[in-house]
Amino acid sequence: MLEEFIKTLLTGNGFWNPLVWILGFIVIFLVVYILRGYGNASYKKGTSQTQSFLSGNPEYEKQFMHIKASNLYWGWTNAMKWIIDILKKMHTGNVSDYVLWFVIVLGVLFIFVGLM
């Protein structure tokens, strides 16, 4: 029964055994943890070391410091603006357009299958 559980998944060209992966993960974690122990413990709680440096600007109250979802990945969304704009145009929220896309796919496949 136990053998059944720990059997390796063969993927055709490779294999995957999560238990071996976890074992490897634990070993790597232990090595990193030991290396961490050799670090310099110079961190002092409650000193200016713990304050964030905002180019000399005053620090806001904590609740105003949370980065909102819209601000995340700004660079990526800006770089991909051209395709995002096309996709936004496509997603009108209008059910007539949803049906139009259905008709388009139907038409394309009719031609494709008709030619076969």
């Binding site: 998944l9 949370h66 909102k68 979802a69 990526w76 059910v95 259905f102 299958v113």
Partner: protein, 525 residues
């Protein structure tokens, strides 16, 4: 005959009859006690789950099981018999297992999640009807019957999407869903009429034996595949998904995922079983069409998800992207099947791709389902679903945070969770069809990770926000439901082989070899 033998013998009918009876008894019990009604629904689903499991075990061991409603005589001449067949093969059993697990979890989740709503008798009745429709779709061996169950699922789903009638958006989403469903179902019905007109049969196996791929057959094929693909949320017909999943109560979004997959099951059943004998002709390259649609579904799904700020809409687009993997993998299998020079590969990477795709159906429902439950939990606790307004909730909702992290890692295909196992099978197999496919699939997975890291950062991390200082962890029933799904994700992730060998492989075999499905048959309408 022992009671177990009786239950097994009658299980295909009971799996439909018990939740159907339960659906109509629910309002009666609701009149007596709300708590009693909730317990009753959970018990009904638990008993149905028990029946699904014994039926599935039997099918996985001995092959397809046929259940006849009506005349049981075999056809020796061209006489007409009146009957409906339920034909449960390994793929049907596989889909039924997913559907019932998710419905069971949704019922437990609903106990607390819906307690502040009114009209819960109707809610539970519709929920059970939705389960009936979904299970019927995957178990029936009759095309018209499939249409009937498709309609039952659609009507119940529509009412449940629009359940919060005090919210305009929910009603609008319900309206959009019923328009899409009705049009889809109408085209399915038209295709069935074309096939019935030609072959005087509605039975899938009988039709599979008769289909010659005539011009009318081609029309029916396109109508069936496109209509069901639309109901399955394949790009560019996916737009209803974000509206429906996003506006339905989270417990219903959960079952909607399984119902959507039942439509995809319909696509696969049509392609591999109904048209199984002709679709493998080398001149027909529908596999590549599926691959391209799968790629588009993945890419458009992830890009749209990344720019969303409403949590449930974001997850809905994530769900669309996940559907792309399934279509891509099964399309790869079909491409290999239809290419003569690749004939030897069907036992190799073609089959691995099919296994990966089918395995991913299960994983997708669990992973996205868990994320929807977390989204529901956040809404329940904060009455807010905008990611721009949420923040710092990991402090108040520790268990929900853990469940979210499990869902996040699983859906992004991070080892050692279940999403990785199925995606690994998909990546490796599609790589052999074309390496670019694999690269795009991995890229989409990385983007899924980025998307859900964004959710984690904006909803759970960050400083404690004063407006959420009152927020507490969600009630136990919701935690238990999330716990069941999370435990399944971890279990399948840690022991993928046991699941792949015993459940996924038979289902993939059933899809590729339609002979077993067809062999019992002797006809009938």
């Amino acid at each position: 005959m022992s009671i177990m033998d009786f239950l097994l013998l009658q299980s295909p009918a009971l799996i439909i009859a018990i939740p159907l009876l339960g659906a109509f008894l629910t309002p009666v019990i609701g009149r007596i006690s709300d708590k009693g009604r909730n317990i009753f629904v959970i018990l009904i689903l638990a008993f149905t789950a028990f029946l699904v499991f014994i039926l599935a075990m039997h099918v996985f061991e001995t092959g397809p099981m046929t259940y006849v409603f009506g005349s049981t005589k075999n056809l020796v001449s061209n006489q007409t018999v009146i009957r409906i067949l339920f034909e449960v093969d390994a793929l049907s059993a596989f889909m039924a297992i997913i559907g019932i697990i998710i419905a069971f979890a949704a019922a437990i989740y609903s106990w607390s999640f819906m307690k502040e709503e009114t009209g819960l008798d109707k809610y539970y009745t519709l929920m059970l009807l939705m389960v009936v429709g979904m299970l019927g779709m995957v178990m029936t061996g009759d095309l018209f019957n499939f249409f009937v169950f498709l309609e039952i699922t659609s009507i119940a789903s529509c009412a449940l999407i629009a359940f919060r009638t005090n919210k305009g958006n929910a009603v609008a989403a319900g309206f959009k869903y019923i328009v899409i469903s009705t049009i889809g179902a109408l085209f399915v019905l038209m295709a069935i009429a074309i096939l019935y007109g030609q072959y005087d049969a509605l039975n899938i196996a009988k039709l599979a034996q008769s289909i010659t791929f005539s011009f009318a057959d081609k029309i029916a094929l396109v109508l069936l595949v496109v209509a069901l693909a639309m109901k399955g949320g394949i790009v560019p017909m996916h737009m209803w998904v974000a509206d429906a999943y996003g506006r339905a109560p989270a417990s219903i979004s959960l079952i909607l995922i399984a119902a959507t997959q039942a439509s995809l099951y319909g696509v696969f059943r049509v392609l591999f079983t109904l048209y199984g004998d002709v679709i493998t002709l080398p001149s027909i390259s529908l596999g590549w069409v599926m691959v391209i649609l799968g790629l588009l579904t993945m890419l458009i799904g992830v890009i749209m998800a990344l720019i969303q700020t409403d949590l449930k809409r974001l997850i809905a687009y994530g769900a669309v992207a996940e559907l792309g993997y399934i279509f891509l993998a099964v399309g790869t299998g079909l491409t290999v099947l239809t290419t003569p020079e690749n004939a030897a590969n069907i036992a190799g990477y073609g089959f691995e791709a099919m296994k990966g795709g089918i395995f991913h159906i299960f994983n997708d429902i669990l992973d996205i389902g868990l994320l929807f439950m977390v989204a529901g939990a956040l809404y329940f606790a904060t009455k807010e679903s905008s990611l721009n307004k949420l923040g710092g909730l990991a402090r108040n909702m520790k268990y929900t945070t853990v469940f979210f992290v499990i869902g996040l890692l699983a859906v992004s295909g991070i080892p050692p969770l279940n999403g990785f196992s199925s995606k690994l099978l998909i990546y490796e197999s599609i790589f052999q069809l074309n390496p670019i496919l694999s690269i795009i699939a991995i890229l989409a997975s990385i983007m899924l990770l980025a998307i859900f890291v964004k959710v984690f950062q904006s909803a759970f991390l960050g400083p404690a926000l004063p407006q959420f200082s009152h927020v507490r962890e969600v009630p136990k029933s919701m935690l238990i439901a999330m716990g069941i799904i999370a435990a399944l994700i971890v279990f399948i992730g840690l022991f993928p082989d046991i699941f792949v060998t015993n459940v996924v492989e038979p289902a993939a075999n059933a899809l590729i070899n339609n002979k077993e499905y067809v062999q019992w048959l002797t006809g009938g309408i």
